[in-house]
Amino acid sequence: MATTATPGIWSRAQRASIDRLHIRLESFIVLLVLAAAMAVLSPFFLSVSNFLNILLATSTIGVLAIAATFVISSGGLDLSLGSVMGLSGVVGAYIAVNLGAPSPFGVGACILAGAIAGYINGQIVTRAFVPAFIVTLGMLGIARGLALVISGGRVIYGLPEYLLFLGQGRPFGIPVPVIIFVITALVAHFVLAYTRFGRHTLALGDSEGAARAAGIRVERQRRILYTISGGLAGLAGMIFMARINSGDPTAGLNYELTAITAAIIGGTNLFGGRGSILGTMIGALIMGVLQNGLNLLAVQSYYQQMAIGAVLILAVFIDQYQVRKETRA
């Protein structure tokens, strides 16, 4: 029986990179090549302000991609990310503007609204035995509809001062959303890579039977993961709402597509068992650079949607191709 797997030119270096940094070498190279190509194609690409723009644009997608990484690496799926993000922004804006609630409540309401949606996802997945694909697809519709109901289908304007700071403040020249994004990523990386919760998440995605036999409370773990996913979607909704200075019921439309793509490019196994936040951050940056570059090159946003969809399929193909190559050797 073959005991030496993972052949090919990457095997050694890749294993080392996974061990130490938990990122895939390929995705990092793709990011560099993509950035180099954009730098050649557009004279505006290489500048500090454009980099901050990329990071700013990546901050919402990045937070959603973190959520996607947790759920997918546990063997689940959350398709409701974009809609829950939109719902959270509307709830936060409604409470801050229409109800005039004091500052912490606006922020708290966004995250809480997302977490509740995620908690409901988790409850249904683990108690009603409806597949996560269907539950979160249903939530995608429910959350979007609820956002339209609450807002009456209109954008909610007139956010209070403190929310504007969260979206548009720039202490030391760094946009606040970028700061929130980076801190969230660091905490999430620590949790997934170094805590028992994170290890149990990966083991659960790897083999639910093994996790159960090891005494891990599988259903509880899943409920927590979906709740975290929803809460992070709420955080993304809060960031986006503050950035555009309004509660937009159509915010986050199709964002789950980009977020899941970022997670998969970053090395998250679509079927669970493998995933890292640092890898996902590379994936999110690839999506950010791609969108930014296409914007600079004045490519219509319709084409960008097509590009992202194609990248998702390509990323899963490459991942599956490698897995098949390894198991056949």
Binding site: D206, S207, G209
Partner: protein, 260 residues
């Protein structure tokens, strides 16, 4: 002294009654062979001991205390381990992650952030455990999917033995192994016995069961059909009890012929 005491265990799945009131006692350091035809309820019975299934009725005691209210993680903590036939490994994770799954040691990061898994300690202790089992793995930092079947089983065994178990349940541990590996599993069972650890061995390979056990319990149609002292029985009697009367001579001769 009785380590594990089962009485009147019943379990059904929907309309299917699998266990109809099973009684079983296991003493410390005793090796029990659990045999029976497919569908006799062996695996179901074991999973009610480990807590994966909850019994519909009956009592389960370890050291005289009821463990019915404990979940699988808690039952592992008080010393009940099981090595599953499918090994139940998380195959994309490395050796140490599997051995310590659910019981990872933690430390403080930078001395103050709590809850960080102590990977260095896990790797060290995992390597020691593999060494103690006399096994050789190419590297303990590789996903276990890259190992051979025998090597993967070593990992599953190491996981069961790392936390000083009182009872180890083995579900068909020799079914998928080469001849030499079978011998090392049987040697391991004898070693566990000498250390005072009780073993329940589920196996279709009656030669193995007759070779290492103290008692053989035959499960048939969800009941403990027979409880035989290994020293006082033989292949014919065990086969007869498994099949349940009738002409068993040919079946026994078949087993004795060593054909597996």
């Amino acid at each position: 002294m009785t380590l594990l005491h089962l009485s009147g265990i019943r379990k059904s799945f929907g309309a299917v009654d699998v266990l109809h009131g099973v009684d079983l006692d296991v003493a410390a350091g005793e090796v029990i062979g659990l045999v029976g035809d497919n569908g006799a309820g062996k695996s179901t019975l074991m999973k009610t001991i480990t807590g994966i299934y909850s019994a519909d009725a009956g009592a389960i005691e370890l050291d005289g205390r009821s463990i019915l209210h404990l979940d699988p993680g808690e039952r592992r903590r008080i010393g009940i381990e099981m090595i599953y036939q499918d090994l139940s490994l998380a195959k994309q994770q490395d050796v140490a992650s599997n051995i310590f799954l659910g019981r990872e040691p933690v430390k403080k990061m930078f001395g103050f952030i709590p809850g960080m898994v102590d990977k260095a300690r896990m790797d060290r202790e995992a390597a020691e455990m593999i060494e103690r089992l006399g096994a050789h793995l190419p590297s303990i930092n590789r996903p276990v999917s890259s190992f051979s079947g025998g090597q993967q089983q070593t990992v599953a065994i190491a996981r069961a033995l790392t936390f000083d178990p009182k009872l180890v349940i083995m579900d068909e541990p020799t079914a998928a192994l080469a001849v030499r590996e079978v011998q090392s599993v049987l040697d391991l069972i004898r070693r566990l016995k000498s250390e005072g650890i009780a073993v329940i061995l589920i196996s279709h390979r009656l030669n193995d069961v007759l070779a290492v056990t103290d008692r053989i319990v035959v499960l048939r149609h969800g009941r403990a059909e027979a409880d035989l002292r290994t020293a006082d029985t033989n292949m014919n009697e065990v086969v007869a009890r498994i099949v349940g009367g009738g002409d068993t001579a040919s079946a026994a001769a078949h087993e004795l012929g060593g054909h597996r």
